[in-house]
Structure formats: structure tokens, C-alpha cells
Symmetry: C2
Subunit: 242 residues, 2 copies
């Protein structure tokens, strides 16, 4: 087993709608085969135009209620992005998104928006976003890289966020060890490792929220498989915490 | 921002009760100042003798009920380690431990036990375990390293486990960005990053459950602060998911 390197991608300018993110990443990196490129969701969403201007939002009564004195237009956008409210302690809302992700504010975020009057939404299909970036990187660099689109999610019972994979292409998202044996021969019956989430978390350690680094390369992984981040969502019938 | 390196620690023999884990780690690594040494919980628990032999366990009626046809002695040990059962779908039990961690089987595990008839329990005080290993590393190598004791926890709503910090010393566990500003000047009001959990996850990528590598070094972090993993637990009064 060789070591991993987690390399911040510097020099990416502020991303705007219509930007060719694959080209920006290709220009800013010296990609190698089997690298995994982790890209912050906000950069992907902004390139895809997934932003909403607050002055174009008319808040509903429900949004005013959940806002608890904060800007009700923000809550209105959260309600539109939410398939289901999982918990609410106004103005904090934990919601399930169209993708099945459970996260604060249905993934709607104001920080790192390109201007102060805008909110950034999750990509409509972050796995498709990852596939597009992967294709573009192959086209421009000739390198076969994995791509992970990452976002910072809170967790039940534990404070703080960790970055997880909300989109993936050319990378294993879940590694199923069922049937493999550990050193004492005990069969690992139900051990699945959320590899892509750990990759996203490792990348966050060099990206940071305030340093303006929207991507990192994880080099040295044994990249296998081609999972989707959507597969990481627990199916409702198996979910003990719905 | 420089890159991170995540280096597997190879050559550690199977750990047994009474082993000096700090000395084993010191011998197997070339430590540098500000390295973070991530050690798998199972190695720590075994060195501390936190194992139970199944043939010494008498299962209760409740354990038999929760076992659903599997070994009721295992469920008995889980019940003893649990402060509170959070969810149960026999034989699967999600429980809160004495430390406040919410995890499958109250952290009780059979895989990688030194023999097939034994279960491994969480350390009684994993933050203290981390502090002891850190002191020992300083004593033996002269290097000031951070130490994280890691374990694989499942998550609500997402499949698979990621490694998280259940013990920490000489390392930041939670990084509070409150009051810092992102590139557009938006103040990050409530953004706390669970740095130690991301460090543990990064280390898992090179350790693996089946490769017999119980530790890794994460090098290149700006190590600040000295948090405890116990601080990562959300206080009951703020926990939306109790």
C-alpha cells in the first residue's frame, strides 16, 4: 500500500454561470491517470447557473413561519428545494432533497455565492455533473480521472460538518467488503465503506471554506468501480432514521 | 497551502493486551513534528484489554430477544456497553455508548478480534488513550504529534461507514469558522468543520479493514488546538435526532 497525496488545486478564478469547469480544472492541474478530482459543489452549481436571486423570491406564509425573524425569502428557497422537511427548529431546517440527501437547508447556501443577494442551490443531478467534468478532463488532458462533487453535510449526533460525495463518476462510492476476511479469518458480513465520502472529507482538509480553493486532487488511491453518489442514499425501506 | 500526505504505518504486529502501543508506533514510523497519528480503535482496545470472551457471557432474556436467532451472547455484551438503545431492528442495534457516541452495536465488534471467540469493546476513555499514546510518542521520538483514535461508524440516511475520531489529543477536533469571512465577505455564522473526523476518514483510505494496517500518519496539516473527541458529541439539549 502506497501513500495518498491530497493536493489543493490553486489558481481557479471565481466560477460564474456558463464557465467550463472541466477546462478550468484541466488548466490548473497536472492530472495523472487514476487521480480523483474533488470539486466543491458550489463551484459546480455556480457554473451550472443553480443560483437564485433573493430579490426575485416571494416568501410564502410557511416560509415566514420557519424564518423565525430571519430572511423569509431564504426559507422560501429552502422549501422549494425540499422534498420533505425532516426536522425544523426555526430558522434551522433539515430537509430531504430531490436526490434523497438529508442535509441542512436542503443544500441551499448563501456563503461563497458570487454576490451577497444570491443563494446557491445543489446541482439538479450532481452525478451527471461529475460525469460531464470527467469526460471534459479526459478530452482535454487524456487522463482518466475519477471525479467527486463534494458538499459539507452535518450529521445526526455529531457536531460539525464533514464533506461528503453528492456526485461521483469513475470512482467507487461504496466498497463492499462482504465475503472478504480480516487477518483472523472472521468474515466481514456487512461492512460497507463509504469510500467516496472519505475522499471528499480528505479533500476538504486542504480546500477549506475560506481559502477560496474549490478543488483538490487525491492521488494514490486504488480507484475501482464506477459508482454514483445517489447510490449512497439509504433506501427508505431500510432507513431506520426516517 | 501545501499538500497532505496520508501514509500507512506498516509492520505493526497483531496487538495484544498489555502491548505498549506508543512504542510499537514509534518503532514503525519516522515521525515528524505536527504529524497526526491515526490509530484504529481496535488496536487501542486490544492493548488496553477491552475484550470479552463469549464463553464467559450469560445472555439475558432481552439479549435473546434482540438476537433474532444470532448469538445472544453478542447482544448481551452490546446491551452492557449501551447507555441507551436508539434504534433496534433485531439483530441490528444502534445504541448510545457511555461516551455519548451513537453507533451500531454500541461499538462492540467481532472482526479483527485476536481470536474468534472474543469481542472487542470501545476503550473506556478514548481521549485518555489518545493522550497516553501522544505522551509516549513524545517521550520516545521527541516529536510533538497529534493522535486520533478512529472507528468506523455508520450514519443516518447514508449507506456505509466512514471512520471518525472517537479519541483525540494534540489535534483540533472541531474548527469553528464563525466570524471568518469567505471570498465574497459573507460571514460564516455557524460553520463548524469536524476536522478530526475528516482526518480519521482520510486515514481509513490507506488503512483498510482487511489489510492489517492499524495506523496511518497524516502529514502537512496545520495542526492547531487540542480538542477532545468527546466534544464532538452533540449535547442532548441541542440534538434534533435524539
Amino acid at each position: 500500500m502506497t501513500e495518498l497525496r491530497v493536493i489543493p488545486v490553486e489558481g481557479i478564478p471565481e466560477v460564474r454561470e456558463g464557465d467550463d469547469l472541466g477546462a478550468l480544472l484541466a488548466a490548473a492541474t497536472r492530472l495523472e491517470d487514476d487521480d480523483v478530482v474533488v470539486v466543491a459543489q458550489k463551484a459546480v452549481s455556480k457554473a451550472e447557473g443553480r443560483t437564485v436571486r433573493l430579490d426575485e423570491v416571494e416568501p410564502s406564509a410557511r416560509a415566514r413561519e420557519l424564518a423565525a425573524g430571519t430572511d423569509p425569502r431564504r426559507l422560501e428557497v429552502i422549501l422549494r428545494e425540499a422534498e420533505r422537511i425532516v426536522r425544523a427548529r426555526p430558522p434551522l431546517v433539515i430537509a430531504e432533497t430531490r436526490h434523497g440527501f438529508v442535509c441542512a437547508s436542503a443544500g441551499v447556501d448563501a456563503s461563497n455565492a458570487s454576490d451577497a443577494g444570491a443563494l446557491v442551490l445543489l446541482p439538479l443531478d450532481p452525478d451527471a455533473s461529475a460525469r460531464r467534468i470527467r469526460s471534459r478532463l479526459l478530452e482535454l488532458t487524456g487522463r482518466t480521472a475519477g471525479v467527486v462533487v463534494s458538499d459539507s453535510f452535518g450529521r445526526a449526533w455529531r457536531q460539525g460538518t464533514t464533506d461528503v460525495a453528492i456526485g461521483a463518476a469513475g470512482v467507487e462510492t461504496l466498497r463492499d467488503l462482504a465475503g472478504t476476511r480480516d487477518r483472523t479469518g472472521y468474515e466481514l458480513h456487512a461492512t460497507v465503506i463509504a469510500v467516496a465520502d472519505e475522499i471528499a472529507g480528505a479533500a476538504e482538509l486542504v480546500m477549506g471554506k475560506t481559502r477560496g480553493i474549490p478543488a483538490a486532487i487525491v492521488r494514490g488511491l486504488e480507484v475501482r468501480g464506477n459508482g454514483a453518489a445517489r447510490d449512497v442514499v439509504i433506501p427508505p425501506e431500510r432507513d431506520l432514521f426516517r
